[in-house]
Symmetry: C2
Subunit: 290 residues, 2 copies
């Protein structure tokens, strides 16, 4: 088994982006500027947003963190989105999810200008991905594709099984892996809670992408000998032995599976860092979008 080291690959990708930023600076241009909006004080969301701000600093982006209180109204957030859409000094921004109950996430997604939607959640960006047009591709699926590419994982003609059908990971991942591109050209199967023979289908995968949010859902009997395993799950499981009182747990039983597969992403240090690097890539691309 070989680790698919997302941390190392993300570092390499961020170094490439830093080179582009340095070139922009040297040419007297304005460096990319990412804004992040955090509503409330959910621990996980705070960590994610902070990691994004740190990544901006590492590569030379400007960044702005905007915090709204837990009881911010939908109106207040939509007004902020409108302001950011019209702020020429900001190239891209994200609104960290999940949002508090009083705010309709779909409304917020639709309100963000597609050009500044560096998370790649806006329907216009999702649709352009289907059509193969230049666009912001959802950061997690895009990060996984980049991870496969930079680690020279051959995907053409392979059977890729995607576990989970969410709008932001499972569904776009399935589309990217099936399209005529490299990475891509996989035969793709999407499985989910209604799938009857989950074990059998997962065990037939050459490439298994798991994004179902159930800690250690994938056990050794569900993994084919030599498979490539990509674990998107990051659930905080209570663990009193840890300083923070929890440990981050993936959707794959890493210890049980690791000796069976050819490659596997660790949690943490796998898909997470690639998602952030991919967000930076989208922000860099945003400066040239119209």
């Amino acid at each position: 088994m070989q680790l698919l080291d997302g941390k190392a690959t993300a570092k390499a990708l961020k170094e490439d982006i830093a080179v582009s930023v340095a070139e922009i600076k040297a040419a007297g241009g304005r460096v990319p500027h990412l804004a992040a909006v955090l509503v409330g004080s959910d621990g996980g969301s705070k960590t994610y947003v902070n990691n994004k701000v740190v990544a901006c600093e590492e590569i030379g982006f400007e960044s702005t963190l905007i915090e709204l209180s837990e009881d911010a109204s939908e109106e207040e957030l939509l007004a902020l989105v409108d302001k950011l859409n019209n702020d020429d000094t900001i190239d891209g921004f994200i609104v960290q999810v999940p949002l508090p109950d009083q705010i309709d996430e779909d409304k917020v997604t639709l309100a963000i200008h597609p050009r500044k939607d560096v998370d790649g959640f806006h329907p216009e960006n999702l649709g352009k991905m289907i059509l193969g047009l230049p666009t912001h591709i959802s950061a997690t699926p895009n990060g996984i594709v980049e991870l496969l590419k930079r680690n020279n994982i051959d995907t053409s003609g392979k059977h890729c099984v995607v576990v989970g059908r969410s709008n932001i990971v499972g569904t776009p991942m399935a589309i990217l892996m099936s399209r005529n591109a490299n990475p891509g050209n996989c035969t793709v199967t999407v499985v989910h809670s209604r799938t009857a023979n989950m074990q059998e289908i997962c065990a037939s995968a050459d490439i298994l992408v798991v994004a179902i949010g159930k800690p250690e859902f994938i056990t050794a009997d569900m993994v084919k000998e030599g498979a490539v395993v990509i674990d998107v799950g990051t659930t905080r499981v209570p663990d009193e032995s840890r300083p923070k009182g929890f440990r981050l747990t993936g959707d794959v039983d890493f210890e049980g599976v690791k000796d069976k597969c050819s490659y596997i992403t660790p949690v943490p240090g796998g898909v997470g860092p690639m998602t952030i690097a991919s967000l930076m890539q989208n922000t860099l691309n945003a400066i040239n979008m119209s």
Copy 2:
């Protein structure tokens, strides 16, 4: 084997739409108005467009057919699209594909206002479909879903194999069949030209949707006993015994397969009429979209 009679199901759907049109009229409202743009004189395209105009007449829609010559410029077509976008008397319009080589199809797709894009090809509409938001769903996949629904075909937990990964049929079909809806909730596999074990995967399908454009590609050995077979193919195969010199041929070897499956769509008279009825449904919906 039972025929999945697209002609009869489309008739029932169109009758439902006609009732809505009559209600609009009775209330003193304006009936839906569909415009169709035909560039050049390709025989197949002409037939499709004419069938759409006839369907409008049947159900009480207003319709307008606009014909441009084979050598129309991209600029000319884009100007027409702009005019139709801004014409308040037109609720929806289609530009029949394929277009002549001098015109970039993507540019035309992007130029059509999503609200008037009753073919459901615009990226915003594709993306809204992924998000499960109200939208114009691509007419062919939407028609197939309606065909399954009106014929009480159970899809939940079934294995649906989609043959072909096109933007307008295969990819949206796969998304619709996997989402949490009825019809839907299938385990979905997309296969295509790069798929290694095509025969084996197709033969594992409970529901087989074929949209690959290769006449009689699916033979009996690729179909499971009792499967539901949906044939999207309509290739004009030369046939001197026919008055028009060709016959419409599906992607499935109907004669070889028919005794093995539980349901099968004929060609013609299967998916084709459902696509047209679905286009009418989208046009009716367009009058209430903002």
